[in-house]
Every structure is written in structure tokens, then in C-alpha cells.
Symmetry: C2
Subunit: 129 residues, 2 copies
DNA sequence: GCGGTGTTGCTAAAATTTTAGCACTATGCT
DNA sequence: AGCATAGTGCTAAAATTTTAGCAACACCGC
């Protein structure tokens, strides 16, 4: 069963997975409250069930209700989403992506953050030998 | 009409928009050839028509065929996709996103690229005063 | 001129996604 | 105990997405 994250998801399924990845886990109600143009409680429930059938989610009993969790760990999903993003908008170049992040309107990178990034780059340079 | 890029697209619509943004523009056949698990020519045509109706695409006559172009410019679409990505996978932090790009498996940032990025950061630091 | 190829314009159907709603269970409060 | 609240399990229908296929037109090489 492929479970390739982020591709072959429908519109609402993607919105739901986004919420769950953003929070780490979520209940039906939490998902619903965070979806734009929110669908009904029932609709969300049904879609969570479908996502579970498809192997994207699992759930645990959390007191009286279900807590849904991603099957593919956040980091893996993140990486494959990033790759897709690089292909689509940055001609596959990680450099360009970083550059775009640096001057994204409202990304608001503070001096401290920039310092830390400078260090990371320095480090990558040393390692990449 | 909103035309908010990337949200409220169906699965195939998104795949199509991705191809078009990746290439800048595309014909029916070009789109079809670049979609995984490719749909029929007819299907692609129909979806391009729908995307045009919805205001995501426009087309120009290119010799005998149509050339489809995005209505929202690449950079704008890119930024909003990036923001979504930051929210979902990086807790809204551009710094974390950059860090992830730096050690993404197979991102393959060369020494030269790292050098250029170091410069960009230096520059951002100076400007951000 | 003629057939083959590649395109668009349609329409309608198949498939999937999305929604609503009823039945039932557990919990907490009075 | 009785009732309201909040949850799940289902099923079935509505809505949207996705597909197939025919008709017409233009172009190209023969």
C-alpha cells in the first residue's frame, strides 16, 4: 500500500492532513475547527475514517474520543512535500528555495535566527567535503 | 472571484497546476506527459477547461494548439504555497524550513551554493537593522 | 485531392468525494 | 433515575471530479 504522502489526496483530505501534521495529532472537533470553510462534523468524521482506511492516519482512544495521528511521520511527509515544492516552484534548486525564504514578505527572520542559520551553513560547508 | 492558489483544488487540478507552474506554461500534451499515473488526453483537456473557468488558467493560441498559462504569477503562487508549508510542517518558522533544506537528503547543496547563501544571509543581516 | 494525425468543442456517464442524518453508547449533572 | 451532551458506527444520497468518446476542423505529406 503506497501511502505516498501529499499526492493523491483530495481537497478536503489534504486540508485535514495539513491540520494533523501542523498539530501532531487531532480530534474530529479540532480538525473541524481549523479547516477553512468548515465542513460538517459528520463530514470530517467520514473523511478521517477514509484517511484511516487509506492508511494515512491511525487513531488512538483518548478518553471518550478518538485522537488521530499520522502514519507517515511528520519529517518524512515534510521532506516529500518539500521535494514537490522544489520541483514546482524552484526548478529543483534548494538554494533558490532558501533565497526565497530569506526575503519572503513577512517571514520575519530575526537577527538571532539569521545568526543561527549562518552557523548551520558554515557547518554544512565543513561537512560537505 | 478569489482564485486563492493551491487551496480548493482537486487532486488532478493540483497536479496540473504543478506542472504548469513548473514549466511556466504547457500544452495539453505536455501536461499529460508529466502527470503521474497519467489520465487520458480527454480528461486533461476537460480539467484544463475547468481550471480556466475557475480563473486559475488562461490560454493563448500557439499555432494549432492551446498554450495554457497561470493567471496568478508563479511568484505569488509560490509564496502562498510556501506559507502553507511553513504553517503545516515548520510551525510557521522560516528558520526551521531553511534548516531542513540544508540537510535534506539529496538536496545536494554544493559548496558554491552554500557560499552564495552565506552571502545572502550576511546581507539580510545588514539590511535588517 | 485524399487519408492520416493532431487538435478543439461537446455531452454524458462513471467514479470519487463530500455531506447529512439516524441509531446507539458513554459520561456527567441534577 | 432521568436528561442533556458529546462521542462513534453506519448508510445513503448529493455534489463534484474525472473519464470516455464522437464530431468537426486544420494541417501535412503523398
Amino acid at each position: 500500500m503506497a501511502v505516498s504522502p501529499h499526492v493523491d489526496l483530495s481537497r478536503r483530505e489534504r486540508q485535514i492532513m495539513d491540520v494533523i501534521y501542523a498539530r501532531g495529532s487531532a480530534t474530529v472537533r479540532e480538525v473541524m475547527d481549523r479547516i477553512p470553510d468548515p465542513p460538517s462534523y459528520s463530514a470530517v468524521r467520514a473523511m478521517l475514517r477514509v484517511l484511516e482506511e487509506k492508511g494515512h492516519l491511525k487513531h488512538e482512544q483518548d478518553g471518550p474520543r478518538y485522537m488521530y495521528l499520522p502514519v507517515v511521520p511528520r519529517e518524512k511527509a515534510r521532506d516529500s512535500a518539500m521535494k514537490q515544492m522544489l520541483r514546482t516552484f524552484f526548478d529543483g534548486s534548494a538554494e533558490r528555495a532558501v533565497a526565497a525564504l530569506l526575503d519572503m514578505p513577512g517571514s520575519g527572520l530575526s537577527r538571532d535566527e539569521l545568526d543561527r542559520l549562518a552557523k548551520l551553513i558554515e557547518q554544512a560547508r565543513k561537512e560537505g567535503r
